[in-house]
Subunit: 273 residues, 3 copies
């Protein structure tokens, strides 16, 4: 069922404008190319209108955020929203620094975002004003487990209603909700946290999934989450003795490159609630 | 015949100053190291004179261009030209945004560039003021094919005469011309468009080829284009089931690392016109 | 003996704040994750106090240094030093440009640095005001060899006393000294100079080693140097015909990911003087 959303990305080849961090920009670009989308990166106000006019969706990421980029993000988001193209926010480091928390909150309040994807600490910080973000990784106390799932689902749900955006909180279990119903996804592998940028890559390809599937953002988001999780699994299966996180990074992008809707349908491990 | 130009790079080990985008900077650096050149990256005015004095060539790339970088590019280009060292421009995104088009045009008009390397849409935009650049990738309508080769050659030729620079328009067929004669190259693989930065890497190593071969920029440029194309082919031959664009990226750089003039001479697929 | 310092990193999982260059930021992040540490990157003044308060150590790197980043580095360094957390400087390009030399010197004079790690040309430039830095790579004349070891050790020693920091000068032989005694390390492989960022990665993981081993910075630094050298050796042993510097980069990070104190103890090749 979720496979068709992936296939639509390959068919429509959306062009995604990315205002993202310099640490994982290369992986984000290759992940978008892997699924058949096209990346375009900028953080210069002078060309932002041209960029957003050309592109089919906007990906905002607050990793290595600079003050000068905040206005650019707002401008790009407003222009993209005007065209009814999706805007996705990855609030990297929300909860870790006031600057990132405040910027992410302002974006969520002033702009009609299509989706917000973060680890559970980041989403919790934005949703309820507290979280125990430890750097850019989710805090152990915040992990989504079978025990904490109900509580995590509750504030994710609440936050989706408040923002009118799809909220995607990722961890060992992923939660995707539009505030009415939600999906949990149990794909992926714990080793993915040892690779920088897996979250950024997911948020970027999610933007492409939304751009290619304007009719159902909840299912398109869930499909993107499953795709990334399955990529992590396929990549893990191809690891050889001696391989580590650098090779794993490459294998994850490779797996996205070789994926299609059929694989996603076969391997998707999700529940609808 | 083109092999010796490659071997000269390995012998002379030119130091290339790069003002380039943050998305592919790492791949550009490793590609330069792969062919035996040495990269040095900066976008700070305060050190640009020192940088250009030390280096043997300058590589300018307009991907993720910032306004503040424009003056720096001009300064670096003038200083490099004064020393009779090559300046190469990769006008990433020319045609996609006014800012990049304008900056690229100003650079080509005010500076004596040694070579300009872009996809056919970018070159067409600069040459005749129109192109159908879709983001940072060449538009399908603009592809160089056997049918459109004569027309593409015509405006590339014209643009080389106008700028007095070597013009390199790359695509499924590559055109390299100095405005008097031209080479077409049919090396490379379509999968190269699925890897971010193959164009940037080519433009960067091209700078090193020119720095190491001051006597014949047209042949040195053609040699660089063949080297990159052959690297794409060798890399493709080493791909295993399950490998994708991330592994392909690594294999391309690996292939450059293992290449020498002999391989280039054996595998080069070009015509002189 | 040095293995326990590595194991402490895996146990304590220090969070390292990185103000580093955009060329190798991704490799630095993955290298930190590989050894069990956690990276956090920023170059924005507005969040620097929050960043340094959260983190267990600070890594400063002058590659692609911008003027605006200098004040940010000073602020971050002062805040980190106040908390008695380690501050490590990698003076990339000191000796190559006045701006980088001056910034590195000012940092070493105004801030209590825990360690300074550079190639021998960079260290020599800072220590005795001259070096023959050729770009960002050490000059051939400056190489640490059996013949020049005594002289290199002398000025490294002197510089450690002057700065009250651990000085790590790396090359074919590495020197680590606190100004009282020193270690030489003969691990590593010459091919490591063909990969961009091996020096940056070493300096970054060194910061994590210091953060996890506050009791003995000299031994912790030596352990980090051995770890990187052994990673280079393990990676080289896994190379296949056709592999080149891109694959070698991945294998180095992979080797760090699979390393533990036991491997380090078995393969460490060092002398205490």
């Amino acid at each position: 069922m979720f496979g068709e959303y992936f296939d639509n990305v390959r068919k429509k080849r959306p062009l995604i404008c990315c205002i993202t961090n310099c640490v994982t920009a290369n992986d984000v670009a290759n992940a978008l190319l892997a699924i058949g989308a096209s990346p375009m990166m900028s953080d210069e106000m002078l060309e932002m209108d041209d960029m957003t006019n050309l592109s089919d969706g906007l990906f905002l990421n607050t990793g290595t955020l600079r003050e000068a980029a905040v206005d650019i993000m707002f401008r790009a988001a407003r222009q993209t929203a005007k065209q009814n193209h999706p805007v996705v926010l990855d609030p990297v480091g929300a909860g870790a620094t006031d600057f990132r928390t405040r910027t992410a909150l302002e974006l969520t309040m002033d702009i009609k975002l299509s989706a917000i994807r973060g680890n559970i600490s980041e989403i919790r910080t934005l949703a309820v004003g507290s979280g125990t973000t430890q750097g850019v990784d989710a805090d152990a106390e915040d992990q989504i487990t079978e025990e904490t799932l109900a509580m995590s689902a509750a504030f994710t749900h609440f936050y989706a209603r408040k923002t009118d955006a799809i909220i995607i909180a990722t961890g060992s279990i992923d939660i995707i909700t539009d505030g009415r119903k939600y999906y949990t996804v149990r794909n992926g592998r714990p080793e993915m946290t040892r690779v920088t940028g897996t979250g950024c890559m997911l948020s970027a390809i999610l933007t492409a999934f939304l751009a290619a599937n304007p009719g159902d953002f909840l299912k398109a988001s869930s499909s993107a989450v499953i795709a990334m999780g399955v990529a992590g699994e396929v990549a893990a299966e191809r690891m050889l003795p001696g391989d580590g996180n650098a090779t794993y990074r490459n294998r994850i992008i490779d797996a996205l490159c070789n994926m299609d809707g059929k694989v996603l349908d076969e391997r998707g491990n999700y529940e609808e609630k």
